[in-house]
Symmetry: C2
Subunit: 197 residues, 2 copies
DNA sequence: GAACTACGTGTACAATCGTACAGGTTCAGG
DNA sequence: CCTGAACCTGTACGATTGTACACGTAGTTC
């Protein structure tokens, strides 16, 4: 059994490297060769542990999503439970769904949203992102109730749509400050949905 | 001068073919070879009329956006000016911004939104999409005022974000009916923004 | 210690891509 | 007519990609 354990560890190292490439250089950059170079293993190893590029990208996606989800969960769990202003609520919404750093970095936004498109293209990736999205929705509701909103007044789907849509549009209108623009828009949405009380 | 006119016509035919490929097979499929095949001209012609792939894609994008914009403008101009229900207003919003056919076709949605991501990646494409987006915003406001909404109550940016965000999320959650889900969400948004009266 | 199997990897192949460019053709202007 | 420039195209090069696969190594089992 030590045999298989060693193999699994090697594979895990490859997945980790793939996730790093995905995060740093984007989806298209995740290739057999780039991952092998990142993990400092020979090219042949990637074809030994993964049946094809799709599986490689899928594993990278899984690893990346898990890490992101775990990070966020701890952040939200540590969030103080107190009443917050609409502005503060809006900032938290965007922070949870996308993150401030990403919202402020054009190329990071591109790398983030290209995954949505890719999930639409390749059905095999959909469950991964869908599961992650569900977790985010729960986190979002949690954040809002921790901020003093009535649970039944929260329209998570609308808030998610506003955030993603605003940031996506920021990619094409070249807005100077996507973060600010998105938070403002989300705040307006919150006036009616997500925190009416 | 007949010389240059003939060349321009040839180039225009290439651009038209490129726009067809873009619409049918997506951004990645717009290559020198595919466009040449679509236009039924030799490969060499594409390098003669376009300095590189970026210019080819840009021209295709321009042509596609112009056609789409023109089509929509006539549709909106023909729209009867009468008071409409929130549901009908929501349907019009989604129809103007994305279109019912596209919203119902997963792969068409992918081809549509991958352009947003590409515009974020390549700055040269941003002005094209931004100009088109501005025109759509005007059309959207027009549609809503034609439906009985108060102009000052319309938050175009929010409605755009909701629509795009909802459809983008539909790509990953595998919703059975993205159109319906999006219209419903937009309708909720309209309750407060875009048509409060 | 022999045999078997999981592990590991170097190399190569076929496909696709953007792009360059030599060379040919056509046509307007002198 | 002739000449030069615009128009046109077939071909090929270099790079990159996913993938296959023969071949070697090491560790487990009997």
């Amino acid at each position: 059994m030590a045999r298989q354990a060693r193999g699994a560890a090697r594979r895990a190292a490859l997945v980790e490297a793939a996730a790093r490439v995905l995060d740093r250089d984007g989806l298209a950059a995740v290739s057999h060769r780039s991952v092998a170079a990142e993990a400092q293993v020979p090219l042949g190893s990637t074809t030994y542990y993964f049946s094809g590029r799709e599986e490689l990208v899928g594993a990278a996606l899984d690893a990346w999503l898990s890490a992101e989800e775990q990070r966020l969960t701890t952040v939200v769990a540590a969030l103080a439970r107190r009443r917050r202003s609409p502005r503060a609520r809006a900032e938290l919404v965007v922070e949870v769904l996308v993150g401030r750093d990403r919202a402020a970095d054009q190329s990071a936004l591109v790398r983030y949203y290209e995954r949505f498109v890719e999930a639409g293209r390749l059905r095999a990736h959909r469950p991964r992102l869908a599961r992650s999205r569900t977790a985010y929705d729960a986190l979002l509701a949690d954040v809002l109730t921790r901020s003093g909103a009535a649970p039944e007044g929260i329209d998570v789907r609308l808030l998610t749509a506003v955030t993603d849509g605003s940031l996506l549009n920021a990619l094409i209108d070249g807005a100077p400050d996507p973060w600010e623009q998105t938070v403002t828009t989300v705040e307006r949405a919150l006036r009616c949905h997500g925190a009416p009380n």
